[in-house]
Symmetry: C2
Subunit: 135 residues, 2 copies
DNA sequence: TTCTCTGCAAATGCTTTGCAGAGGC
DNA sequence: GCCTCTGCAAAGCATTTGCAGAGAA
């Protein structure tokens, strides 16, 4: 079982369950979805624990918190540089693995020290696009 | 005074005040900041009206709703293609006007029909970077 | 005159917090 | 055994909504 050394915080069954669910997950779940999923295997978990764990994971660089969705945060266990494509209808998010050239002229930074970047694409997923067409 | 033809919705003094404040504004204000600013000139405006107007403007393509900030939406009256740079400390947002090459291989889209894109940069603004250094 | 918009206040929904007890290290 | 983590419940905020009256077109 992974110990404190691997994650920088105390390991508990609840946190193990959350990590298990997130491991390799590419669905970009919300806190609610994570809570519901963990509830299946671990009926005694609370929302506070989910948020607490996600915050701990975020601080330790184990998950990304995505603001791409209008009304809830989404979480991504893949913290290797990648980008996202959001369906504006069903809110599905998929990964874009491509190394864009995001350099731009220094005079635009207004003195900022840039530390990271992220590209968001918007569109309609196949299912939603087909539904639009058949209207 | 601008009429319904220009905006696609009924013009009222409250809406004029909001439009006046947003006109040319590059501070990417939140709803709260817009409310506070309009309150100065127009003491009888309510929050509901601010949100209602912003939603009407958004639907008519007159403002962008930015999700770049963690815990509140930010509004941008500049709807010409551009990107943003956020200070992760003071949450200041500045515009990046640069035409990035955001093409990527079709096989990554998973059938999505892409309709838009936006690049977010993160970093520290000059003031915050200097504060960090002098610690 | 018509019908959308307004202000108010309450509701909603996501996220955070206080606290006392549990349990990982 | 110490101290962080947990569950619960309540609080905190941003945003939305219901409604009756006001006022723009």
């Amino acid at each position: 079982m992974a110990g404190i050394k691997d994650y920088g915080f105390r390991m508990t069954p609840q946190r193990m369950a959350i990590l298990d669910f997130l491991e390799g997950n590419t669905s970009h779940p919300s806190a609610e979805e994570i809570y519901q999923a963990v509830l299946q295997k671990y009926p005694m978990i609370s929302f506070a624990t989910v948020y607490n764990t996600l915050e701990a994971l975020r601080k330790n660089g184990k998950v990304w918190e995505l603001n791409i969705d209008d009304d809830r945060k989404r979480y991504d266990p893949n913290t290797h540089s990648h980008h996202h494509l959001l369906c504006t209808k069903c809110r599905k998010i998929v990964d874009i693995h491509y190394d864009f050239d995001l350099r731009f002229p220094d005079e635009q930074t207004q003195g900022f020290k840039v530390t990271g970047s992220h590209v968001e694409f918007y569109g309609l997923c196949q299912d939603c696009a087909e539904m639009e067409e058949s209207k």
